[in-house]
Symmetry: C2
Amino acid sequence: MPPIIRHAFLALVATLALGLASKAGAADPLPSWNEGPTKQSIVDFVTRVTKEGGPDYVAPEDRVATFDNDGTLWVEQPIYTQFMFAIDRVKATSNEHPEWKDKEPFKSVLAGDMKAVAAMGEKGMLEIMAVTHSGMTTADFRETVDQWITTAKHPRFKVLYTDLVYQPMLELLDYLRANDFQVFIVSGGGVEFMRSFTRKSYGVPPWQVVGSSGVTKYGMWDASPILVKESKVFFVDDGPGKPEGINHFIGAQPIFAFGNSDGDKEMLEWTAACKRLCFMGLVHHTDAVREYAYDRDSSVGKLDKALDEALDRGWTVVDMKNDWKVIFPSEASGP
Amino acid sequence: MPPIIRHAFLALVATLALGLASKAGAADPLPSWNEGPTKQSIVDFVTRVTKEGGPDYVAPEDRVATFDNDGTLWVEQPIYTQFMFAIDRVKATSNEHPEWKDKEPFKSVLAGDMKAVAAMGEKGMLEIMAVTHSGMTTADFRETVDQWITTAKHPRFKVLYTDLVYQPMLELLDYLRANDFQVFIVSGGGVEFMRSFTRKSYGVPPWQVVGSSGVTKYGMWDASPILVKESKVFFVDDGPGKPEGINHFIGAQPIFAFGNSDGDKEMLEWTAACKRLCFMGLVHHTDAVREYAYDRDSSVGKLDKALDEALDRGWTVVDMKNDWKVIFPSEASGP
């Protein structure tokens, strides 16, 4: 065979091999989801909105999908990861704040009395969040989060928090992107905290992360520009704040949204008003053995009114115990 | 030749032909820019940051470019387009506001006395903006802008405002995207106003548009969720607000930024602090014949301190008259 023909032949063989491989891979885009109505509702939706010429076809530019983060894409129990970070920051910086020894809620945090901290309720938590998330530059804050998120371990599972993302949801994000969806995170969590890991953990770039945030001020320090994080609230991305945030930061109405708590109710309602085929989903935590089981009475990720509405309106509700073959990437079998 | 070899051979020929075609097409990505140091500075920058293994290489995920809109991507004289829209809205809705006949600044607007409106300064303009940009749903506002932007004509050029985008800048946006940049608009203009045309005019999706905005409230109307635009300011994306907005909405520091006025100064300074090779550019309006000539003394798009800083620090300054072969797409020759 002349060399040019041989090269062409080899190229063809390689192309065929790749084609077969991708065909085999495409057979089940959601291998960690058990067969059943939940998985079927997702596949049906994606199939219908991507079918050109079909009655439910949606142009790629309008395929916007929004996901809550805590409890939807990763573990949020026994308490939101970002609050664990804040607790660790109080401990790590207590030397600079001798007054904390006699001042609540810091006194209890430093004494390791988390029950007392919890008893102080939202006010105590907000105070802890405020002091640990302001008074530094955005660059310094980011460095602190980067360092923490790559070393801190979850109290029960004893692995990095980023190891506790949900494998079935990672597959769902990939599946949507493979079908030309733009995937956004819309979470009550701090946007600068999340951006530390969303690209690596979820493949979501920083500008597709919507979250809560404080006011940030531009200024000069030693002839260099800096952005300083202030303790004043800029935006709270929770409840009605989610559709408001979707409008401010995304500027397009989702046709697909997934959450897991009452804080996602308005985002799902806003999505349901999309005036074409749209998908609304909730993760219901029903697996105390492999993860956690909680809903209506939980102080973290309470799911009550949104569950009623989902059942009432026929939205997809994931039964974690029965719908998910595996929970975490460490359990997933190799390719 | 056996069929399989023949197919492979033809595939190879097709590949080679495509390769040549794309090479020829890549000869000049910026055909509306005259040869010279301005154009060269852009091409040099893009070549260096995309050269794998080179000292200035930047990974695609960090190739963030931000552009001002008014006066950078489209005409802003004799007055910002969005203000023309607001003036037209005052006229169109005056029947619903009989009190405007005796109340400034509306009285002068309705009398067509733009000199009197201008004399009232910023306070008058803000009042006109507030009443025309609030008190309706986001959907209704969008419909109004869509209708206006596809019909209203520029007073001097007598064409749609969207026909007055700058052809050389459109080529620059395409050139950057072809080199795996993410292109954002970061403008003092209203974000919901801009989103009406940024996808069609610039190929920029709504979530890559950062602008000024008012508070928006989620609520229910007749059992359907709506977002209502309020008159309270949410965010002002101008001056120091630009780096702050870049942090809130994009979450990554640009390595390439283009503006045209003192309102872009802090965005360019923030970009210049990118700690790698970065590009800062200004459009200097020097062409009174084909467009407008203005800088230090203009009330619209004043360019004074930013021009001094650009000259001092060696940033790229586009001399519109000499650097741009054509200004508007209508003058551009076909492919």
